[in-house]
Every structure is written in C-alpha cells, then in structure tokens.
Symmetry: C2
Amino acid sequence: MSKGVVLFSGGQDSTTCLYWAKVVFDEVQALSFDYGQKHRVELDAGAAIAELAGVERAVVAVPSFAQLSDTALVGSQDIAQPDGELPTTFLPGRNLVFLSIAAGLAAERGIADIVTGICQTDYSGYPDCRDEFRIAMEQAASVGTAQVLRIHAPLMWLTKAETVRLARRLPGCWDALALSHTCYKGQRPACGECPACRLRAKGFADAGETDPACVAI
Amino acid sequence: MSKGVVLFSGGQDSTTCLYWAKVVFDEVQALSFDYGQKHRVELDAGAAIAELAGVERAVVAVPSFAQLSDTALVGSQDIAQPDGELPTTFLPGRNLVFLSIAAGLAAERGIADIVTGICQTDYSGYPDCRDEFRIAMEQAASVGTAQVLRIHAPLMWLTKAETVRLARRLPGCWDALALSHTCYKGQRPACGECPACRLRAKGFADAGETDPACVAI
C-alpha cells in the first residue's frame, strides 16, 4: 500500500494536489495547519473537501507564527508587495515548518511521500515555493529522519491556467474546487482584490474556464 | 550589533551553547519549546538559567508532536534503544521543526545566526544531531527564507567530556549548569538511569569534574 501525506490548506492548489495524490497513491493522509491565519475559514473549506474526497485529515495547531511573526497573514502588517522586497504575505519559515511536521509524521508512520502545492511558475514571490527549496527541504527531511522522504510538488512548473486544466482531468477535483477557499482576507464570497484572489482569477481566465467556486456562490 | 538565536531547552548542552553565544554575539535571543515533552520541568530550568544569564527568552508552543507522535518523549512508548533501530526517544522531525521556527524568526528579524546544541560525537543516535543534517538544514532554511542563515553547532565534534571542559571556560556557564535539567523522566534530582542522565554523568566523569547540578541538589 502506497500512501502520501498531502499538505492541504483547503485552497485551490492543495485541493488539486489532494486529488492528484488520490490518483497516484493507494491512500492519502491530508494535513491542515491552524497557524493563526486570518483566513482561517480555509480550514472549514478543507474539512468539507476532505469529506467530499473521502480522505482522512488531521488539523495541526501551529501557534508559533502568530506568536513570533508580524507579517500580514498572521500579524499586523497590511497585505502589500513593496518594490524589490518580499510580499508582506510571505510568512518566513511557513513551508519549512509545515514540511518538517509532515516529515516527522511520515517518518514515524513509514510513509515516504509528501505532497505540497508549492509552485514556481505563476507564484507569489515566496522563496519557499521554489523548486530549489523543495530539493533542499527533501534533503534536510531525509537526513534528519534517516529515511528517504520524497517531497512531490506536482504544480511546481505549471502555470495557473495549466493547474486549472489539470484539475479538470482529475476525477472529482472540479466539484471540490467549488468548495475551496483562496482569499487572503478570509471573505466568502472571495474579495476578488487580494493577491491570492487575483492569481486564482487569472488562472481560470487564462484557461477559459469559470471558477466553480464562483458558480457555487 | 550581531545577534544569535539559541535553541535553548534548559539542558546541559543548550546551556553551554547559550553561554558560548554570549561570548560570540553582541546579543542573544533564547528560544525554548513547549512541545508536550514529559520532562517539561526543563522549561523551568530554562527560565532560571535565562534569568541568570540576562538573556531574553521566548517559550514557543509546538503542540504538533504530542498530537501526531507516539514516541517516548511525548507519547506512550517506553524509553528504549532496540538493537539496530532508532531509540524510542528519537522524536522524528523535532530538530527540523525547531530549526524551522528559529529560521523564520531569524529571517523576519534580520538575524543571520542560529545556535543549536546538537552533537555528533557522544550522541544518542539521533539522525537530526549529525553534521550532515545541520548542513542540509542550513541550506533549506537559507533557500526557504531567501536569506543567508548560519546554523552553528559549537558542540558538534566535542565529546561530552570536552563539552564539560568548554563549559568550565565560558564565563558564568558553570553556575548555570547547576540549574540545568537533563533527565528524560523529568525527575529532580535526576533519575540517573535514563540515557540522557547516563550520557551527562559520563561526560562529567570523563572530564574529572563533579556535575554542579549534583552539588546544588
């Protein structure tokens, strides 16, 4: 029995990865993180999608970011992308911590495969979404647990439009996307204005598709 | 102003690292983790030592291990070292998560230096205490935050006896060691029987020194 641990926020990308993993592995374990994100409504979306997908999901509390960081997703900074700087929505260490927790869980349970929705192509400028980071993290996680851990990032080199087209081809995924949450502001219906909303809208537009979440709402 | 973030459990090794960092950097930030460890009395030791050292210390809650792991430090397994297997006190992902949280904090605050007490010489067989892990983690943390982060492990190649001798030479460290806590069972006075107690006792014995914690108690 092959098994994959999917980092699953309840957003578009991780929902697509969840359905990708359902095709690729015999069994899937979803991991969601309650890390003080203002858009924690995504956790409700994640619960609904995991139920629809018939996938076991654990919600892991990660209070360290809200305690230590002032960046926009968890702290007092406004959402902004200052010229020549990282966006304020970049939460330093987020994917490091999430993948480390997943690695610990995978190693203890004898699972070799971890799946994340990080993507370098149409991305938000986050350094921990680059393939260079995936490779380095795979190495650190494997050495640190003395087990071969593979970190899969099936969306790494896809444009947002290609991710939309992939979702079309993954059985059940399109219906799940109707339930997914992306808006950084945590608004449902989505605000349509924040960087996450704009990136999502562009992907569906470029693919010539209507976002099923918009239809559902 | 140079600043170092020290992973600080309140044990012998991290206390030595704290005083090493006080010599090496202008300013020191200690980070302790409340991760469901049964020997959480080490957090009280850490508070007392940080006060003695005049160092700012943050205690970060990391509930994921108690939620996801059944290994001996946080779960129901007994303390044991089965032949050819990792000790049950190895908590998969622990140093990955701790260093990831430290990396996030360091990156956000413009700090380049992280200090950990991991040691490959007289160690407990934990894969995340090896220098190979330190190097891989340094790379992942730097790439993942787009900043140069250095992970220092001043005890990496020291025997436990050499660590004791180093502590003798670091101003103030010996008095702090009297307050430090090592016992996995969380007993004070220490049980003297668990692997952590035995390793500590061997170091002081090999160095021809009396453990100041024993004198204090």
